[in-house]
């Protein structure tokens, strides 16, 4: 064998932080080669994807707008993944959050007052949380695998959303387009910076990051979650109520994803449309892993992911590439990350090099 993996015996902290960086560099190199093979100048293409979108104020503002829902979903996933509960359903929870928030919003278009927006957002949070709790209930009471149930719930949520915009929530004056009516002014997220789409949802996302940080690193609940994730039987022996922890983590994760959905419809969209999310909930899974399930890491990783989304759109406009290039980048990044993560627990050795050395030593 050319390379050999040798167990380190312990977890390497340095590698745990280095691995995402390494994965990013490898993704860059691979996509550079890919652009070259497509007959493009790799440097120019990468610059178009990763720098041009954020090279002006408008771009920077859009960057924040795109990062907010990803950040909200991913920070929630950090909590469930820490408990080793595999919630793959952030996408569905986001959609149901957006759907429920919209069904409140279309009924209060004429309403005024500061209670309107909080009520809508709360509906979104409840929607996402209930959708996640459904999977938690199926897991704790019926032992149903949460990966499969949350994925199925994603497809069900998408169909519910499409049904709603074609049926009950369709704008009666909308020329039969599958869209809801535009929300009233009191239902929209306040814009933070004039002439941009930067809205208050970004503050919610940052607040969530801080809150989850405190929860995970400073609270007893966070400790219980981590123990549950590391060793299920240890958590049981310590008397932690593991079913309740599954419920709480799913509640947090679903609620935050629901808030992300509500933030999209009341923020940049202003109405309910079938395409609320270009897969933010799935991208959040990559972000959570890439950010090492740590709030700061996740903040950085969601900025990167938002940039990849913007880069995909830019590549479509400037380089004539299909917008699906975003998914390609995401998949590559996650693959490289998983491969590089091997370095956390294993050391790569080159047996042919060391055996040559030993022979040389023997000769001497």
């Amino acid at each position: 064998m050319l390379v050999k993996l040798e167990p380190r015996g312990q977890h390497s902290r340095k590698m745990a932080y280095l691995s995402p960086v390494l994965a990013g560099v490898l993704t860059l190199i691979t996509s550079g080669i890919f652009f070259f093979l497509q007959g493009l100048d790799p440097i120019h293409a990468l610059k178009t994807m990763l720098y041009t979108p954020i090279s002006d104020t408008y771009g920077l503002a859009e960057w924040c707008v795109k990062a907010a829902p990803i950040l909200l979903c991913a920070i929630g996933l950090a909590v469930v993944f820490k408990a080793q509960v595999w919630n793959i359903g952030a996408e569905g929870q986001l959609l149901i959050g957006g759907l429920l928030a919209s069904s409140v919003a279309v009924n209060v278009i004429e309403a005024e007052g500061i209670w309107v927006l909080p009520a809508i957002l709360l509906a979104g949070v409840i929607g996402g949380a209930l959708w996640a709790l459904l999977a938690a209930w199926l897991k704790t009471h019926f032992n149903a695998n949460e990966i499969l149930t949350t994925i199925m719930l994603n497809y069900i949520a998408l169909n519910l959303l499409v049904f709603s915009v074609h049926g009950p929530l369709k704008d009666p004056n909308g020329f039969n387009f599958p869209e809801s009516a535009m929300f009233g002014d009191a239902s929209l997220m306040p814009v933070l910076i004039e002439d941009t789409r930067v809205h208050a949802g970004i503050l919610f996302a940052l607040f969530a990051v801080a809150a989850i940080w405190v929860l995970l690193s400073r609270s007893f609940m966070g400790f219980q979650i981590k123990v549950l994730g590391l060793d299920h039987s240890a958590a049981r022996l310590a008397g932690f109520k593991s079913k309740r922890l599954v419920w709480v983590t799913m509640l947090i994760s679903g609620g935050l994803a629901g808030l992300a959905g509500a933030g999209e419809v009341t923020g940049p969209l202003g109405q309910l449309v079938p395409q609320i999310s270009p897969g933010y909930g799935y991208a959040a899974i990559i972000v959570a892993f890439l950010g090492r399930l740590h709030p700061v890491g996740i903040l950085l990783a969601s900025l990167l992911m938002a940039l990849i989304y913007m880069g995909g759109e830019m590549a479509q406009i400037e380089l004539n590439m299909p917008v699906a290039i975003t998914g390609l980048f995401q998949g590559l990044l996650l693959f490289y990350l998983l491969a590089c993560d091997v370095l956390i627990n294993f050391r790569v050795t080159l047996p042919w090099l060391s055996s040559q050395k030993t022979t040389a030593e023997q000769v001497n």
């Binding site: 069900i156 049926g167 299909p322 998914g327 998949g331 491969a339």
Partner: protein, 308 residues
């Protein structure tokens, strides 16, 4: 309900169940060897797009199917290198494969959306296909459906009576013991993953070359995931995979039945049925955790590192 409707519903049930059956049988073999590959959806999509492009460019649908299977195998080996070679977490690697496959297939196929091809034709077996009700369902299908019947028989026999089947089961139940008596654990697992990939590619190709026949982004619509659930319900037994695949085929075409009977239900609501059915069956069958543990290959999802 008249005879014609029943005949056509049964016929469509088999056609819709076929891709599920093929991908689920492939995944079952893979899981029997102790490897959980959640990348079925990604491999199916790659099979679908590569098969479609190959058919469109060459005009030969069989070349399309071969390319679809090759695409599935290549994707599965990407998984194998990371999950088996580098002992990475199989759940995360499988998810990565699905995300990657979804992105890559959409990218490759973006120029081919909506282009027409001549799909795979139906071959009616004389005399047998004239049997009322079941004749059309069993004997007036395309060759891939007939192949799927053979595949089922082969997998059933493989685990019941063949020596190699025993090796696969031994590797999945206790890789350390299997390694100790000299069975090639890693090679068996790589091959099982490759077989799963080939079947997922073929099932994807069936969707884009025979079932639709068109290419559309994300056209598998969760069938790879339903197949994963199917293997769990079927408690890793081929005959139950067969039954489950056709039941899901039926659930997926209920909107046609409803239309045939004159009910006006939103197609979007009926489209949820297979997913809801998946959850319901999963719940019914997983309730008893002792029973699930009994049937699950003991080393499923756990990396193996030969400590020699």
């Amino acid at each position: 309900m008249d005879i014609d409707l029943i005949t056509n519903v049964l016929y469509a049930m088999i056609r819709t169940g076929t891709p599920l059956l093929i991908v689920a049988l492939g995944e079952m073999v893979c899981e029997k060897s102790g490897v959980l590959n959640l990348g079925q959806e990604g491999m199916m999509l790659m099979g679908a797009v590569i098969g479609f492009i190959a058919t469109l460019l060459s005009g030969n649908v069989w070349l399309g199917f071969i390319c679809a299977m090759l695409a599935g195998v290549l994707m599965s080996q990407l998984f194998a290198v990371i999950a088996l070679g580098l002992s990475a977490n199989q759940v995360a690697t499988g998810l990565a494969l699905t995300i990657f496959g979804t992105g890559l297939s959409a990218f490759i196929g973006s120029d081919y959306v909506g282009k027409p091809i001549d799909g795979l034709g139906v071959i009616a077996i004389p005399v047998l296909s004239d049997i009322p009700i079941i004749g059309k369902m069993l004997f007036a299908q395309d060759l891939i459906v007939y192949f799927s019947f053979g595949l089922f028989a082969a997998v059933y026999w493989f685990f019941r009576s063949s020596r190699t089947g025993l090796v696969v089961k031994a590797v999945g139940e206790n890789p350390h013991a299997a390694n100790a008596i000299g069975l090639p654990v890693m090679r068996t697992r790589y091959l099982a993953v490759a077989f799963g990939g080939a079947m997922a590619g073929l099932a994807g190709g069936y969707l884009s070359l025979a079932y639709t026949p068109l290419w559309a982004e994300n056209m598998t619509a969760g069938r790879g995931w339903i197949a994963l659930a199917l293997v769990v319900f079927a408690t890793w037994r081929a005959e139950r995979v067969l039954l489950g695949a056709y039941l899901f085929g039926l659930a997926s075409i209920l909107h046609l039945v409803a239309q045939g009977l004159g009910f006006a239900v939103s197609p979007n609501l009926l489209a949820m049925l297979p997913y809801i059915a998946t959850i319901l069956v999963l719940v019914m069958l997983s309730r008893n955790s002792g029973r699930s543990k009994l049937y699950t290959p003991a080393s499923l999802g756990k990396p193996f590192h030969a400590s020699s």
